[in-house]
Amino acid sequence: MSASHQFCTFHVGGLFLGVDVLHVQEVMRQRELATVPLAPATVEGLLNLRGQIVTAIDLRRRLGCPARAADEVPMFMIVRTDDGFTALLVDAVGDVLEVDPESFEPAPDTLPAATRALISGVHKLPGRLLHVLDAAQAATLPAHAA
C-alpha cells in the first residue's frame, strides 16, 4: 500500500469510492468536452486543461454502473498517473478522509474480474465501505474496448 492514507472520496452510481489524494491533481465542475468519434464508449471526450489535452473517462461506464441521467451533471476529477493526466467523470465529490491503514481489506474474489482490476480493496469505515480506486487502472482502458 502506498504511504498516504488520505483519500479523496467521491460517489459514482451509488458507490462510495476514494482515490489516493496524491494522485488527484484537481477537481473541476462541468466543462465542455470535445467528443471523439469511434472512441471506446467509456471515453466521454477530450478536455482542455490549460492547454493540455486530457481524456475524460466516464467512471460510471467504466465501473459498469447505469448511465447518468440527462439532468445529472458530473464532476471532473483530474488524476495524475505515470502516463499523464486523465479526467474521471464522477457523480459527486466528497471530503478528503484520513483512514486507518488497518481498516483495509482486499476486494473479495466475488467481484467481477473487470471491476476487481479497478478496485484494489475497501476501507471499513464506520457504517460504510470506502472503495479504493486504482487511478492508474481506471485511466487505462482494456484493449478490446479500444
Binding site: P37, L38, N48, V54, L141, A146
Partner: protein
C-alpha cells in the same frame, strides 16, 4: 552584489562564447575549403578577439593566453600575410576545442565555488590545462611572437592519416576495396561515443604525452553545455508581440477588477471581459509556445565540423548537404535528437561512404555525399540522412546475427530483407571484429533507436547495395506547429494538416448531385478524368449526418501514401496554424487521429491523420507501414489477415489446422512436463528467469479430446509476448511455417477464432490470441 554581477558576466561570456565558437568552426571550414572572404576572416577574428577581451576582464588568464595566440595567427591571415592552409585550419579548430573545454570548466567549477576564492579556480584551470588538454601545449605561445604560432601550427602533426591500424569496419557495408582506415592510435576516450561521454565529465587526460592527431576527432558536440542549452534566441518581433499581449492582459485584468466592483453586474459585460481574457491568454500561450520552437539548423550547424573531422580521420572525402534546415522543432526534441543524429552521421561516414579509391572503383566521384533532409509531414517531422556509399551488405548482417546468436541460422535466412536491415537496431548487434575509435562498440544503432523512440519517434532504414543507405527518422511534433485546414462534419470540427492536403473541390446544386457516382457500392468522383474514391467523414466517424440540405458538396482531396482520396465534409472553414498535442494513451488505438489541438476559442478539435483515415476506410490497404506498427493484437491480426504473411501452423487435439501470424510468436520452445508448476488451476513455468503462465489452446478452443493430457513428451509451447508479459501457448504439435496470402473468409469467425482461410489446400482456422487470453482470464492485452 559584485558576486552576482561577476556571475552574470561569466554567464554572458559563456553563452556568447559558445555561440561565437560555433560560428568560428563553421567559418574555419569555409576557410579550409579556400572559400573564405575578408568578411569571414574578420568575423572569426572578432570572435576570438572579444573572447580574449572578456576573459582578460574577468581574469581568466588561460583563455586569455590561448585566445591571444590564436588572435595573432588570425591577424596574419586577416591582413593577408599568411595564406590559409589545411594545417592552419586544423590548428584553429583545435583552438576552438580547447577553448570550449576551458569554458566548460569555467562553467562547472565557477558555478560550484564561492566567488571569494578565485585562486583554487585558477589552479584548477592550470591543472586541467597541463594535464587534461592534450594539445594545449603548443598553442598558448607567449603572446608577442606573431610569426611563431603559424609556424608551430604548421609543424603540429596535422592529422595525417596514420596507417598501421587494422581496417576495422563492420564490414556489413560493401567495401569493395578495404579502405586503409587510418584509425587514430592512442584510442582517445573522448573521441567516440557521444552517448557515453554525455554522462561522463569532460574527457580525462588520455595521454598528455602524445599530442595525438586524434585530438581533432574530439568533436565539438560533447561540449553541449548547459549554459548554451539554457539560453534561447527569440525573434524580436515575436517578443514584441508577447509584450503587447501581456499589456493587453493587464488591461483585461483592470477591466475585470472594475467589473467585479461594479454594483450592477451585467452578464454580458462579464462574458465580454472573460471572452477577451480567454483570447488574450490563448494567444499569449501560443506565443510562448513559439519561442520554444527552433529550426533544426541549430543542431545541424555543428555537423559540418563533425563530418570534416571524422572524414579526415578515416581518410575519406565527404561533403555534407542539408535541406530544410529551417524546419522547426520543439526545443526539447531538438536536444534529444542531437546525439542520435551525430551517431548516424558517424556511422554513415565510417561504414557507408567508401574510401576514395573504393569509390573510384565503383565509378563514383571520389567525394562522398551525405544529405540531411528535414520536413514536416502529416503531423510529424521527417528527418532523412542519405549517403551515397556502399549500402548495407544483407548477407553479412544475416551471418553476423546468426553468429551472435541473435537468431537461429534458419530463422535468419527466413527474414525478409527489410527485417534484416532492422537487425542493425538490435542491441548488441555489431559486425565489427574490432572497435575503432569511431564506431563499432555495439552500443550504436540500438541506442539511436531507443533515444528516438523515447520521444515517440521511429527510425527506418533503407539500403540498396552499392548505391547507399537512407535512414528515415520520424518524430511526432508533440508541440510543433503546423498549418492545418479546419473542416466541419457532423457538427464537430476537425483539423487536417496541410501537408496531406492536395486541393479543395466545391460543387453546388445540380453539379453536386451529378458528380457523385458509384462503382458498385463505393462512391467516387471524377476529378479531371480520374476516379477519386470518396470518403464521407461523418459516416466514417459514425457522426450524426450533417446538414446536407443545401446541396453543396465539399471535397477535401487528401494524399495518403501515394494515393489520393476525397474526404467529403459538411463545411470547409479556414486554415489555421495549430499546435499539435498528443492524445492520451486511451486513444492511441485510433489511427485516424494524429492528435488534438486547441482552437482559438479554447475548444478541443481532433486532428485527422490522412493515412489512418484512408486505412480505416480501406482506401489504402492496411498493410502500409504506419511507423508505429506495434498496434493492438487485433490490428496485427487484421493486417496479417489482409496480406501475404508468415504463418505458424500448428495442431491441437481435435483441431488439426490452426494458424497464427508468425510475428505474434516471440519464440518456440519445448518445455519438459516436469518443470510445469501449478498454482490453483493455473499452470506456469519458469522461463528465462520469469514466470510464464501456460495456456492450453486446445482446452480453450474446446476441441474434441480437450482434456486428454498430452503425451509424455515435452510440451510444445509458442511463447507469445504482449506488452510486458509472456504467455506460453501450449499446442500439440507445431507443424510448419509458411508464407501465404491470406484472406479470411467472412462469416467463419467463432469464439477464439478470428476466421478461416484456405492454406495449403486445407481449411485453416486463425487463432484469436487476444480472445483466448481474455477467455483464460488474463488481463486483457492493453492497447500498447
Amino acid at each position: 552584489m559584485s558576486q552576482e554581477l561577476q556571475q552574470q558576466f561569466v554567464r554572458d561570456m559563456l553563452a556568447e562564447s559558445y555561440e561565437g565558437l560555433d560560428r568560428f568552426d563553421r567559418a574555419i571550414l569555409v576557410l579550409e575549403q579556400g572559400a573564405a572572404d575578408a568578411e569571414t576572416l574578420n568575423d572569426i577574428f572578432r570572435v576570438v578577439h572579444s573572447l580574449k577581451g572578456t576573459a582578460g576582464c574577468l581574469g581568466f588568464q588561460r583563455i586569455e593566453k590561448l585566445t591571444h595566440a590564436g588572435e595573432s595567427l588570425l591577424d596574419l591571415l586577416r591582413t593577408g600575410r599568411l595564406t590559409p592552409s589545411q594545417p592552419i585550419a586544423s590548428a584553429l579548430l583545435r583552438l576552438s576545442d580547447n577553448l570550449r573545454r576551458l569554458l566548460g570548466s569555467v562553467e562547472s567549477t565557477g558555478a560550484d565555488r564561492n566567488d571569494d576564492e578565485h585562486q583554487p579556480l585558477i589552479d584548477e584551470f592550470t591543472a586541467l590545462r597541463s594535464g587534461g588538454v592534450p594539445v594545449s601545449s603548443p598553442l598558448p605561445m607567449p603572446p608577442p611572437v606573431p610569426p611563431a604560432p603559424p609556424a608551430v601550427a604548421t609543424a603540429e602533426p596535422a592529422p595525417a592519416p596514420a596507417p598501421g591500424a587494422t581496417p576495422t569496419t563492420w564490414g556489413i557495408f560493401d567495401e569493395s576495396a578495404p579502405a586503409p582506415v587510418p584509425a587514430a592510435p592512442g584510442e582517445p576516450a573522448a573521441s567516440w561515443g557521444l552517448f557515453e561521454s554525455a554522462t561522463t565529465p569532460p574527457p580525462p587526460a588520455a595521454s598528455p604525452a602524445t599530442p595525438a592527431p586524434a585530438a581533432t576527432a574530439a568533436p565539438a558536440a560533447p561540449a553541449a553545455s548547459s549554459v548554451a542549452a539554457s539560453t534561447v534566441r527569440v525573434d524580436v518581433s515575436l517578443l514584441d508581440k508577447l509584450m503587447n499581449l501581456v499589456g493587453e492582459l493587464v488591461l483585461t485584468r483592470n477591466q475585470l477588477t472594475q467589473v467585479s466592483q461594479s454594483r450592477h453586474l451585467r452578464a454580458e459585460t462579464v462574458s465580454s471581459v472573460s471572452q477577451r481574457l480567454n483570447l488574450v491568454t490563448t494567444e499569449l500561450q501560443e506565443g510562448i509556445m513559439k519561442t520554444r520552437m527552433q529550426p533544426i539548423g541549430t543542431i545541424w550547424s555543428k555537423f559540418p565540423r563533425i563530418v570534416r573531422d571524422i572524414a579526415h580521420d578515416l581518410g575519406k572525402q565527404v561533403r555534407l548537404e542539408t535541406v530544410g534546415a529551417d524546419t522547426e522543432l520543439d526545443r526539447t526534441i531538438i536536444e534529444s535528437i542531437r546525439d542520435p543524429l551525430t551517431h548516424i552521421i558517424r556511422n554513415s561516414i565510417d561504414h557507408g561512404i567508401e574510401s576514395p579509391a573504393g569509390r573510384a572503383a565503383a565509378g563514383k566521384p571520389a567525394e562522398g555525399l551525405i544529405l540531411m533532409r528535414a520536413h514536416h509531414e502529416g503531423g510529424q517531422v521527417n528527418i532523412e540522412i542519405v549517403d551515397d556509399g556502399g549500402g548495407i551488405n544483407l548477407a553479412r548482417v544475416r551471418q553476423k546475427a546468426a553468429e551472435k546468436g541473435l537468431l537461429a541460422p534458419d530463422a535468419a535466412a527466413r527474414l525478409t530483407d527489410r527485417e534484416v536491415l532492422n537487425l542493425i537496431f538490435h542491441p548488441g548487434f555489431s559486425t565489427a571484429e574490432k572497435v575503432t575509435n569511431v564506431s563499432g562498440r555495439g552500443v550504436g544503432m540500438d541506442v539511436v533507436k531507443t533515444n528516438i523512440e523515447k520521444i515517440g519517434g521511429s527510425v527506418d532504414v533503407q539500403s540498396s547495395a552499392g548505391a547507399g543507405t537512407t535512414l528515415k527518422i520520424k518524430i511526432p511534433l508533440t508541440l510543433a506547429i503546423v498549418p492545418a485546414l479546419i473542416v466541419r462534419a457532423g457538427g464537430e470540427r476537425f483539423a487536417i494538416p496541410q501537408v496531406s492536403l492536395l486541393e479543395l473541390v466545391r460543387l453546388e446544386g445540380e453539379a453536386a448531385q451529378k458528380a457523385l457516382e458509384k462503382v458498385y457500392d463505393a462512391p467516387v468522383f471524377r476529378l479531371r478524368g480520374n476516379l477519386l474514391p470518396l470518403v464521407f467523414l461523418d459516416r466514417e466517424l459514425k457522426l450524426p449526418s450533417g446538414t446536407d440540405g443545401d446541396g453543396i458538396l465539399n471535397i477535401v482531396v487528401l494524399q495518403a501514401d501515394q494515393r489520393s482520396f476525397g474526404l467529403v465534409v459538411d463545411e470547409v472553414c479556414d486554415t489555421e496554424e495549430i499546435v499539435v498535442k498528443p492524445l492520451g494513451k486511451q486513444l492511441k488505438g485510433l489511427p485516424m487521429y494524429a492528435g488534438a489541438t486547441i482552437m482559438g476559442d479554447g475548444r478541443v478539435a481532433l486532428i485527422l491523420d490522412a493515412l489512418g483515415l484512408a486505412q480505416h476506410s480501406r482506401v489504402v490497404s492496411q498493410t502500409q507501414d504506419r511507423g508505429h506498427a506495434a498496434g493492438t493484437l487485433d490490428a496485427a491480426a487484421a493486417s496479417a489477415a489482409a496480406s501475404s504473411s508468415q504463418l505458424l501452423l500448428f495442431r491441437v487435439p481435435g483441431r488439426d489446422h490452426l494458424a497464427l501470424p508468425l510475428d505474434q510468436a516471440a519464440r518456440l520452445a519445448e518445455i519438459e512436463t516436469s518443470t510445469v508448476e501449478r498454482t490453483g488451476a493455473r499452470e506456469a513455468v519458469q522461463y528465462r528467469g520469469r514466470i510464464m503462465p501456460l495456456v492450453h489452446v486446445g482446452r480453450l478452443l474446446g476441441g474434441a479430446a480437450a482434456d486428454t493430457p498430452s503425451a509424455t513428451g515435452p510440451l510444445q509451447v509458442i511463447v507469445y509476448s504482449h506488452s510486458d508479459h509472456v504467455v506460453g501457448l501450449v499446442v500439440d504439435e507445431i507443424c510448419d511455417i509458411v508464407s501465404a496470402a491470406v484472406e479470411l473468409q467472412p462469416g467463419t469467425a467463432a469464439p477464439g477464432i478470428k476466421g478461416s482461410a484456405i492454406i495449403q489446400g486445407k481449411i485453416t482456422d486463425f487463432v484469436d490470441v487476444g480472445g483466448i487470453l481474455r477467455t483464460a482470464g488474463f488481463p486483457a492485452a492493453r492497447a500498447a
